[in-house]
């Protein structure tokens, strides 16, 4: 008998006789709060930052003022081609090691924890938001949901190979519980909240 059969047989034998019911999730996520205000507050509290912008021009202006444009900047958003490269998506992911800033869009954000949902379709390469020194993510203000329950309602049966929630910059507190931003991933996260 294979290990799989062995394990499954023993599980079948040892699991309880009756299947207990799954709980109703609809009773959750009814907290009411100002979604955008909460989003901003939580993002700040976990080391991220935000800027409210009306269009891509404002994003470009902001980035020109805040980042070293001579360093490597990559994006998947054609509107940002003035300051960032678009032609890296089929490259060996290791070649992204010198990226200073990655700019991508998020499907939506979550107010209660400031997380942003991104998938393959928006990332260009899976490693892009992790390998860069800094990360910028654009999300529409109308696409901020209240809680994780709303987030998964929104995701529904969405098809993706990879998707991730990103909440703030990469961080660690493994040395004496002292918080340090920029563990292995991005050292900083700026979220552009677009009208």
């Amino acid at each position: 008998m294979s290990s799989k059969e062995q394990i499954l047989q023993k599980i079948k034998q040892n699991q309880p006789g009756e299947v207990t019911e799954l709980p109703d999730l609809n009773v959750l996520g009814s907290e009411s709060f100002d979604v955008l205000k909460t989003y901003k507050k939580v993002l700040k509290s976990i080391g991220g930052d935000f800027a409210e912008v009306a269009d891509y021009t404002q994003i470009i202006d902001f980035l020109k003022n805040s980042y070293a444009l001579e360093k490597r900047i990559i994006t998947t958003i054609p509107e940002l081609s003035e300051i960032a490269r678009l032609d890296w998506q089929n490259d060996d992911p290791h070649s992204l090691e010198d990226v200073e800033l990655t700019i991508v869009k998020a499907h939506f954000g979550v107010a209660e924890n400031s997380a942003l949902w991104v998938t393959d379709a928006l990332l260009g390469q899976r490693v892009a938001p992790f390998i860069a020194q800094y990360l910028a993510i654009i999300v529409s203000k109308k696409d901020i949901v209240a809680t994780m329950h709303h987030a998964y309602d929104r995701i529904g049966n969405q098809e993706y190979g990879f998707g991730t929630f990103i909440a703030g910059p990469s961080k660690t507190a493994d040395i004496e519980q002292s918080l340090v931003l920029g563990a292995h991933g991005a050292r900083g996260l700026i979220v552009f909240l677009m009208d």
């Binding site: 040892n14 207990t20 709980p23 924890n113 703030g168 660690t172």
Partner: protein, 467 residues
């Protein structure tokens, strides 16, 4: 590690307590994490309902785990993921090794996985000439020091920054005496970045696996699991079978609870959902039993398998905070470790369920409502019945049971020698009464309550009046 003779929790704790200042620091540091958890949890209006819901989902999983596993495997395979099954630690290690041999890789980068600690994978692979590098900062620190993690979420919580500085100076060439966490973290970042860029194989743990979609979720703050997985040709994800949840939407419940319970963060920085491998690359999942199916059959202990490894029970445990993770001589320490470990090896871990005052705080912080302290009590009963307690203790207990069951003997024993005091606290160690090492005995009063009662109660006065 496994070949060394394990010293009992109480011996290890006694050593740990020789440095009072360090114990105070350890206690305060973990209490600080517990307070962050409280603050975060108390901000969520539905917190208790969330815990209840999570508990019910996990109960459902455990009652239907066979079908969920079958469903998960089919969906994962459909997604192009290669699924393996390991009955025990040995088979798990062999599977991982075989994948590496097949791909002719000699180096692997690994993010946090308590399962691989449980299976002693690092040891196994390095004995076969494979270089394993742990990429979680805390795990890297303890790996360089050749120590096991002392906490499932905060692996190096037992170390001070001076210790880390010393280790990094020795292994990574950092400046001697520079204890700045920022500086030390940056040094690890540079060192590990090189690792990520050069490893062709990456191993991660699994926080949740979803039956409905065949995907799995890995949560980190550092981004190390993603850095490893997205740069490697082969991604191996190892999971105990209890990590399954039925549907994607259930993640909404667990991701709200996990990080808040663990560190007080609203969510981990990255909650990555792996569904399909990149084109031309491979994802392997190793589903491990290693005693879990046995635990599933122990009705009293079954629901320990609901654990989502948040570590909240450790942070709140007054004993863990004052004895340190290593005193539990098990991959998973603290209260949850103490109810999981006896399932793996009763005789080796017979001391752990007794390393608790049964205060119950663990049960209250548990995000999936495992009745941890009740299970500690129940393990004690099992361990005694299975003969894992010293014979002297059993004899003392039997004597006590005889005396306490018989009011006449009890009263005689009480009068002549204060039976209770001699026997209750000093039960196990009559020769050298440990009570007295750092505590005084209570004063012996002139008369017991019952003697007073006989003379002074209304009842006795009435009796006398009637006579």
């Amino acid at each position: 590690m496994s070949s060394e003779k394990t010293i009992t929790h109480s011996e290890a704790a006694t050593r740990f307590n020789q440095d009072t200042e360090r114990v105070n620091w350890h206690d305060e540091t973990l209490w600080f994490v517990r307070e962050k958890r409280d603050k975060s949890a108390h901000q969520i209006q539905d917190w208790e309902l969330l815990r209840e819901t999570a508990s019910k989902i996990k109960n459902n999983v455990l009652s239907n785990i066979h079908d969920y596993l079958v469903e998960f495997e089919a969906n994962a395979q459909q997604n192009g993921i290669i699924v393996h099954w390991a009955a025990d630690a040995k088979e798990h290690n062999e599977i991982v090794h075989a994948i590496m041999v097949k791909h002719e890789v000699k180096q692997i980068v690994k993010s946090k996985s308590m399962l691989t600690e449980e299976c002693h994978l690092n040891e196994y692979l390095s004995q076969r000439g494979i270089d394993v590098i742990d990429s979680d900062l805390g795990e890297r620190i303890v790996q360089l020091r050749k120590e096991p993690p002392s906490h499932i979420v905060l692996p190096a919580i037992h170390l001070k920054k001076e210790d880390v500085s010393e280790t990094f100076h020795k292994h990574l060439g950092t400046e001697k005496g520079n204890n700045d966490p920022q500086y030390l973290t940056e040094a690890a970042r540079l060192h590990l970045r090189d690792t990520f860029l050069t490893r062709r194989a990456a191993l991660t743990g699994v926080n949740f696996a979803i039956a409905e979609t065949g995907e799995f979720v890995v949560c980190t703050n550092e981004g190390n699991a993603d850095m490893g997985a997205h740069l490697a040709d082969v991604h191996i994800a190892c999971m105990g079978f209890e990590k399954l949840i039925p549907q994607r939407k259930h993640l909404g419940v667990f991701l709200r609870l996990l990080a808040r319970s663990a560190t007080g963060q609203p969510i981990t920085t990255f909650s990555s959902h792996f569904k399909k491998p990149r084109d031309g690359k491979e994802i392997h999942i190793v589903i491990v039993d290693n005693g879990r199916s046995t635990q599933l059959g122990r009705e009293d202990f079954r629901n320990s398998l609901k654990c989502i490894r948040c570590g909240a029970c450790m942070n709140t445990c007054p004993v863990y905070r004052r004895s340190g993770g290593h005193s539990y001589h098990n991959a998973v320490a603290g209260p949850i470790g103490a109810i999981l470990a006896p399932n793996l090896d009763m005789s080796k871990n017979a001391d752990l369920p007794f390393a608790s005052t049964l205060c119950g705080s663990c049960t209250n912080v548990c995000p999936v409502k495992i009745d941890i302290h009740d299970q500690l009590y129940k393990w004690r009963q099992v361990l005694v019945k299975e003969g894992h307690t010293p014979a002297t203790k059993t004899i003392a207990m039997k004597t006590m049971a005889t005396v306490l069951a018989n009011p006449v003997i009890f009263n005689m024993a009480g009068k002549s020698g204060r039976f209770v005091m001699k026997n209750v606290p000093a039960l196990v160690n009559n020769k050298m009464n440990k009570w007295y090492d750092q505590r005084e005995m209570p004063d012996v009063p002139e008369e017991s309550f019952r003697e007073w009662y006989k003379k002074n109660s209304r009842e006795s006065k009435t009796d006398k009046d009637e006579q």
